[in-house]
Structures are given as structure tokens and as C-alpha cells.
Amino acid sequence: MGELAGYLITGAGIGCAYALTGSGLVVIYRVTRVVNFAQGTFAVLAALTVTTLLTAGLPHGLAEGLAVVLAGLVGVLVGLVAIGKPGTTPQAALIVTLGLGVLAYAVEIVIWGDQPRSFAGVPGSVTVLGTRIQAHYLLIAGVTAVVLTGAALLFARTDLGRALTATAADPYAARVVGINVLRMGLLAFAVGGALGGLAGVLVTPVQQVSFDSDVALVVNGFSAAILGNLTRPGLTLAGGLLLGIVQALVGGYLSTSYQTEVALIFMLAVLIARAGRRDVVEAV
């Protein structure tokens, strides 16, 4: 029982990072119709930046906060390159984000090298459901809950959120009422970047990060987002948690080498189950 509870909790912790990465994808897709393949890059950049800031003597909290802000700014840059030129199609922008993700590898290797890095999270351990887990998992869960609730409220309850939704629903009409469509797209990239950065900052203390960790994050984040049809944050959260937990169980009871396959099989299963439906064909 204790072992199972341990897998469930650690899996949910990693699942939160998938959910945050996936939610970043969802925010960007909802507003711009661009699938941002550089989404994992935000997490890696933020995590590696924290290692540098901590080494430079900045305290915990400030270092993580600055790294998330940096990820948001990098999000704006990615957005500018991907959708800044008027008339760029979402498909073309997708390829641009893929290219930027590869470019980021080069930058990261030059600055931080190719070895995995990590930093300390919340110290100590706590007993949950009869099993001892690192206290940091509670921080991951708590911050994820607060941030995703905040994002949901932003979309549902504020005029800015409505304008973001309106931009996605009908860009022409958005321009007619005076909404700056490009600015909304860049804002979505900023939020997506910050969510990705947060995923990296939160998960690195329990899972080392290196320049190519973005692949696992983006594959899992994308799988989670696919469950929500790339547009529904609630289902993305559920998908992320489910993936994290199933991977932890597979890793614990079978072998850790099957973990990525779990995400891919999950994504394929969801896609095949929905293949006949028009909205998914449009989304993918």
C-alpha cells in the first residue's frame, strides 16, 4: 500500500509538470491556433537559469521567479518570430517553433554544457497516506493548483481573458472591435512561456534537467493537451496527472525504460478513439 501510494504521489507530482507544459500549449493554441513545439524549451531554459542564479547567490524563490519571468519573455520572442509576420499560417508557425526549439539546444549547450543539472527544492519529507515522500511534491501540487486555477479564472472571468478567447474564435471580428490580434497572440505566448518555465522550475529538484529534457516534457505535455483537444485546460490537467501516475506505476512495477512509450501510446489511443470527429482532425 505504501509503495503504491508513493508511486501515485510522485507520479502526480511529475504529472503536474506535464499539465503545466500542456496548459502552456493549450493557451497558445487557443489564441493563435499554433501548436508550439518549443514549449519544452521554456521549461529547460528556466530550470537551467535557476541553477545559474542560485550559483550566483540569489535566494530560492527569487531565482525561480526570475527564471519564470525569463521564460515568459522568451515566449514573447518565440511568438514574435512565429506569428509576428502578418499572414503567417499556423502550420508555418509550427515549423518555426520546431526550428527555434532546435536552436535553443545550441544556446543551452554553449551556456550550460550538455550534462544534467539540478538544484535543491523544498527540504525534508512528509508522510502522506502512510508513505514518506519529499516535501517538494507538495509544493509542486500546490503551485500547480493555484496557477491553473488562476489561468482558468483569467479566461472565464476577465475581459482580457474574453478578448483572448474572442481572438481565437474570430480574429476578423476581434480586429473589428479593436482587439489587437498580434498583441493577444504574443500575450498567449508569454503566458505559455511562463507556464512552461514554471513546469521546469518545479520539477527539476525531483528530476534532473538537461538541454534535451524538453522532448519528454513536450511529448507528455502534448499528450495531456490532446486529451483536452488542445483547447480545454481542465482535461489537460487530468491528462497530465493520469500520464504522470501511469508512468510512475509502469516505472515502479515494470521498467523505467517504458515511460515515454506510455505517453505515446496514450496519445495514439486518444487520437484513434476520436479520429472520426471533425473537431479533432481540425485540431491536429
Binding site: 474574453r162 478567447t165 474564435a169 474570430d170
Partner: protein, 218 residues
């Protein structure tokens, strides 16, 4: 309110508008009629600043709002949310004045715009445009796809706004009879050029306009 002089707009090599001039004065109701592909929507988009003129001059004084062709509501948002976004440029996003003007929208305020009938959607589109407290309203194809009774109701609303608040209107219509009935002056746009203009009465009496747009023998 609207002053267009010798306006030319091109899409690549194709000329959509060729030396078009027209004006809409304060409190005036003016119609622009013409067949499909004449350049009416191009003119609308240029007036709203969504297209750049290749030559000529467009000047709009006062607040302009557009009711676009096909309504273009934000389908996933509610009626009330659609209305609020109509005032995106301004600070006052109180929707109650619009419900007073268009009482039939009040019971629909929490309905998603995508689930409304065509007539209801057109009413929301009009309400959304009124939210920006415009001094001049451009309406692109108000009657398209709507039942005559619904169109008559919308026309009454426009007449009333015009009479009580001096709202200027540029009505872009394929339904020439409606446009000439509602407006005092009109322009005929064909293949990117203004081919006739004058008072509605004069245009309705002109043989060529009557034959082409009113379904009457010349």
C-alpha cells in the same frame, strides 16, 4: 463623418476599388448598393482601417463601429460577453444601455452567441457595435439571410437611433429596396467604381437602377 476621396484599393494586381468617392454627413443615413464582388466589403474594411488604400484618402471623424457581414459574433462567448467586447476600446463596458435599446436581447444575455438564430445574432452584432457608443455605424449586409419581419425590426431600430441620437449610418446592402427605403441618399458601386449616386428617390426613379436592383423593367 465619413469622407472618401478617389479611393483605390488593390489586392496584389487586382484592383478592388478604383477611384471611389463618397461621404456620409453627421446624422445622415446613406446606402451603398451594388452586386456581389463590386467592392463593397473592401470599402468597409478600408473604412475600419483593416485594409490600406493604394491611393486616395479616407477620413473618418468621430467614433465608427462596424456590423460586419456574416455577423462575426464570438460564438463561444455569451451574448453579454460579446456586448462587453464591443466596448473593448473604451472603459465603460456596462451593457445595460444596450438591453434598454434592444430589449429582446435581455433574456438571451447568458446564452452562447453561437446558439442563437440568425435574427438574434444580427441583433447582438448591432448591440455589440452600439456598445462603443458610435457616432457613425457601418452595417455590411444587414438583411442577408434574415426573414423580412426581422429586417423590418432592425430597420426600425436604426431609424430610431438616427432620429433620437443623430447616429449616422452607412448601410451596405444587396437588398436595394430596403436600402433606398431606409436611407435618404445612396451610391451604386459596380466593379469597384461608383456608377450612380443621388437621393434615394432619384435613384429609385432612375430606369437603370430600377431595372438592375429593384427588379423592375426599365
Amino acid at each position: 463623418m465619413i469622407d472618401v476621396e478617389e479611393l483605390t484599393v488593390r489586392y496584389g494586381a487586382a484592383t478592388a476599388l478604383d477611384g471611389v468617392s463618397l461621404s456620409v454627413g453627421r446624422g445622415e443615413m446613406v446606402a451603398l448598393i451594388g452586386p456581389n464582388g463590386a467592392g463593397k466589403s473592401t470599402l468597409v474594411n478600408t473604412l475600419c482601417g483593416l485594409l490600406k488604400p493604394a491611393a486616395g484618402r479616407v477620413s473618418v471623424s468621430g467614433r465608427l463601429a462596424l456590423v460586419p457581414e456574416g455577423r462575426h459574433l464570438f460564438a463561444p462567448l455569451t451574448v453579454d460577453e460579446n456586448l462587453r467586447l464591443g466596448a473593448w476600446r473604451g472603459r465603460d463596458r456596462d451593457t445595460s444601455p444596450v438591453y434598454r435599446l434592444l430589449p429582446s436581447l435581455e433574456p438571451l444575455r447568458h446564452r452562447r452567441a453561437g446558439r442563437l438564430s440568425g435574427g438574434e445574432q444580427q441583433m447582438v452584432a448591432l448591440g455589440r457595435a452600439l456598445m462603443s457608443r458610435p457616432e457613425v455605424l457601418v452595417i455590411d449586409e444587414m438583411s442577408l439571410g434574415l426573414a423580412p419581419l426581422v429586417v423590418a425590426g432592425l430597420a426600425d431600430h436604426l431609424r430610431e437611433r438616427n432620429a433620437t441620437e443623430g447616429l449616422a449610418v452607412l448601410l451596405i446592402e444587396q437588398n436595394a429596396r430596403l436600402a433606398l427605403d431606409l436611407c435618404t441618399r445612396a451610391y451604386v458601386l459596380e466593379a469597384g467604381r461608383v456608377t450612380a449616386s443621388g437621393t434615394s428617390a432619384a435613384l429609385a426613379g432612375s430606369d437603370s437602377v430600377a431595372a438592375a436592383y429593384l427588379g423592375l423593367e426599365g
